[in-house]
């Protein structure tokens, strides 16, 4: 990170006193600065957080991620929300470089250390009533929308300890609202930059796509390496109303030292198509909890994920596909390529609730192990309470196949080129399932860059 970037991003902290920790005082400060309904919600969330024990490896969902060894909540400090202007001059090269490739967008958001510093939206899109805004500001400008959707149906505090912590302490985030019948052609691109070591950032994303609307949302998290742990907790709530088409993409490219915690819930009403892609390249520990609920007849969700780990990176993807209505379909494909001593955990459950007849639910997890010290755990699961369903799940953990490499080398590729091509293809297969402009190129580029390193 350049010197000027450090100044740009550190300034607010130096002007105040020492930063608060994650405690009741911090919640109360947030409560005091917001409307009563939100204050109530924060306090209630804090109560749930305090009452919920810290998950241990004795719990199935945390069996392979030991929070007592990996998460230092007590040492983390909160940075209050800042009013900032994003200035590309002096911003870190990783941030500006990444943004430069995202020009083809309906709108942009830049988030610096958990505070939205910039938003723009195509005039024509704005005129149709689409809203892209800082969530903190939307508390004042769209109070009813937020009161109805924020930490209510999708990710209420009761859904878990970290969901509760986020609901109590969030400082800012993104609101995207697409009115009925409006099609937003280009994706909305959010870029987040995290600068300070030792911090905890709580951010939320709320996407409401009204009946028959269409929108794509790409959320990218970036940082340099941190000398001390930094926690980024991200809560994502996506509502796709009847017949809406929504694509949500998360690109996680944080530096080492980051603990990335992403809790996502997608709710698809009748005939909605709600697809997600989670790409995890960075952080020391990255945990994604994704629950996709298909709650209206004819709803459809493609759930894609890819991760590429090296050194001592640890990824834990925990997914569920909840079918609560008939004629619903979900199709999940998560892939991990692991080098060094990296570790990936995939735990996925398909739940078909009573009455959800004529359901198709598929789940595939594939892991490619590139080094003797890398490891993958794959835990697929099914809970079927309807009788007329088509479900399948499959999991593989494998190494590079010598026959594949021989085939490629027999055409003149060096071993290194052959390995790169196989890995690129292995992960690229996921991208080909969600051919979103800009994302495929960007992610393929990152994979290739990483394979060359």
């Amino acid at each position: 990170m350049s010197e000027s970037a450090t100044t740009l991003l550190r300034a607010p902290e130096e002007s105040g006193g020492p930063l608060p920790g994650l405690d009741r005082n911090a919640v109360e400060a947030l409560v005091a600065s917001g409307p009563p309904w939100l204050g109530q919600r924060r306090l209630e969330a804090w109560r749930v957080y305090e009452e919920t024990p810290m998950p241990t490896t004795k719990e199935e969902e945390w069996r392979y991620t030991d929070l007592s060894k990996t998460l230092r909540l007590g040492e983390l400090r909160l940075l209050p929300r800042q009013e900032r202007e994003f200035a590309p001059e002096g911003a870190p090269a990783l941030l500006t470089g990444s943004m430069r490739s995202d020009w083809a967008a309906a709108g942009h958001v830049v988030d610096l250390d958990g505070s939205v510093a910039h938003t723009d939206l195509e005039e024509e899109v704005a005129r149709k009533g689409v809203v892209l805004a800082s969530l903190a500001r939307a508390v004042e400008t769209f109070p009813e929308l937020l009161e109805a959707h924020l930490a209510t149906e999708a990710l209420p505090a009761s859904s878990g300890k970290f969901q509760a912590l986020n609901a109590a302490l969030w400082t800012d985030g993104v609101l995207l609202f697409v009115p009925r019948g409006v099609h937003v052609e280009l994706p909305v691109r959010v870029t987040r930059w995290f600068s300070g070591p030792g911090r905890a950032v709580f951010t939320r994303t709320l996407i409401v796509a009204e009946e028959g609307s269409r929108v794509s949302f790409v959320d990218e998290a970036l940082s340099a390496d941190f000398p001390a742990q930094t926690l980024v907790s991200s809560a994502v709530e996506v509502f796709a109303r009847r017949g809406a088409h929504v694509q949500f993409v998360s690109l996680q490219r944080m530096g080492r030292g980051a603990f990335h915690l992403s809790q996502q819930r997608t709710l698809a009403d009748a005939d909605a198509a709600l697809d997600t892609l989670n790409v995890s390249f960075g952080a020391s520990v990255a945990r994604v909890d994704l629950n996709a609920e298909l709650r209206g007849a004819g709803a459809h969700s493609d759930m894609l994920g890819l991760c590429f780990g090296e050194a001592d990176q640890h990824f834990d993807h925990n997914t569920s596909q909840d079918h609560g209505a008939p004629h619903t379909k979900s199709d999940l494909l998560y892939k991990a390529a692991l080098d060094g001593a990296a570790r990936a955990v995939f735990r996925g459950i398909i739940r078909v609730h009573p009455g959800a007849q004529q359901t198709d639910a598929y789940q595939t997890n594939r892991n490619l192990i590139l080094s003797p010290d890398a490891r993958a755990e794959s835990l697929p699961n099914l809970e079927i309470e309807a009788d007329d369903v088509r479900c399948s799940h499959g999991a593989t953990v494998g190494q590079l196949d010598e026959e594949h490499l021989f085939y490629l080398m027999s055409r003149g590729l060096t071993r290194a080129q052959a390995e790169r091509l196989v890995v690129t293809g292995f992960l690229g297969e996921v991208l080909s399932r969600l051919p979103l402009g800009g994302v495929v190129e960007k992610v393929s580029g990152i994979i290739e860059e990483r394979l060359r390193a």
Binding site: D401, E402, E403, H404, F406, Y407, L408, M409, S410, R411, G412, L413, T414, R415, Q417, A418, L421, V422, T424, G425, F426, L427, G428, E429, S432
Partner: protein
């Protein structure tokens, strides 16, 4: 005037790495540039093993004898080094590489042939690929498909021929490229090889097959019969016809 052989095997013995059982027990073979040779023989006689040893498959090991390609012993070379010298193996069972398009694969293969600092001109490559597909009557969309992924038997073999057309080998070893193909697919394969031979009369082909029908198209200059890891008989095109009628039992009997 006799040309120097492009490939010359002397007393080649080979086995599977980590196993003690020898599969090839002393193979002698000489191929002159521009010739078409057929290698026939019953299942399990060692034909694929020979093809893989020539291409440098890491699972096999030459235990005696030599393999000279263009006057140089190539047994110590890696498969990619051999390929870059012009050796090509059309696989009996081409493998699937999901997520990698044929075009991307071939582009990387062509890039690998250049010096490290040289960059392949992508427009030239694209033109060349389209020209090669046109020559073989292959639809341009074929190159965008992932390598062999979900291909029918015929498509896999067509892909092998396309790769051969782009890479322009000096020596092509074709391992049962005809097996499992219907007559249309067979014509595509045979027609492709003939087109490429006509284009480059110096290209040498060693075709491994059980069937006369491919040889009817390719008209080999020499036919060799392999039984139990040895070449037991060599002759002209008539030998293949004789095999079609009589089978391989005659050679087995003569051995014991």
């Amino acid at each position: 005037m006799s040309k120097a052989p492009i490939l010359s095997l002397r007393g080649l013995c080979a086995k599977v790495v980590d196993e003690d059982v020898e599969i090839l027990h002393g193979v002698d073979l000489e191929l002159i540039p521009g010739e078409v040779h057929a290698l026939m023989g019953p299942n399990g006689s060692g034909k694929s093993t020979l093809a893989k040893v020539l291409a440098g498959h890491p699972g096999y090991e030459a235990t005696a004898g030599s393999v000279e390609y263009d006057g140089e012993d190539i047994l110590d070379l890696e498969p990619d080094e051999r390929a870059r010298l012009g050796v090509f193996l059309a696989f009996q069972y081409p493998v699937e590489i999901p997520g990698v398009s044929i075009a991307n694969f071939l582009r990387t293969a062509m890039q690998a042939r250049l010096e490290e600092e040289e960059e392949l001109d992508l427009f030239d490559f694209q033109d060349e690929l389209l020209e090669r597909m046109d020559l073989l009557d292959i639809d341009p969309s074929f190159a965008e498909r992932p390598v062999n992924d979900g291909f029918s038997g015929g498509e896999k073999k067509r892909n092998e021929i396309l790769q051969m057309a782009v890479l322009r080998p000096r020596l092509a070893v074709m391992d049962e490229t005809d097996s499992g193909l219907d007559i249309d697919a067979l014509q595509v394969v045979a027609g492709g090889v003939k087109t490429l031979s006509a284009e480059d009369p110096e290209m040498t082909v060693l075709v491994i097959t059980h069937y006369q029908r491919l040889l009817n198209y390719l008209r080999p200059d020499h036919v060799h019969v392999m039984v139990d890891g040895r070449i037991v008989r060599s002759g002209g095109a008539a030998l293949a016809e004789n095999l079609e009628a009589e089978g391989y039992e005659q050679f087995r009997a003569s051995e014991s």
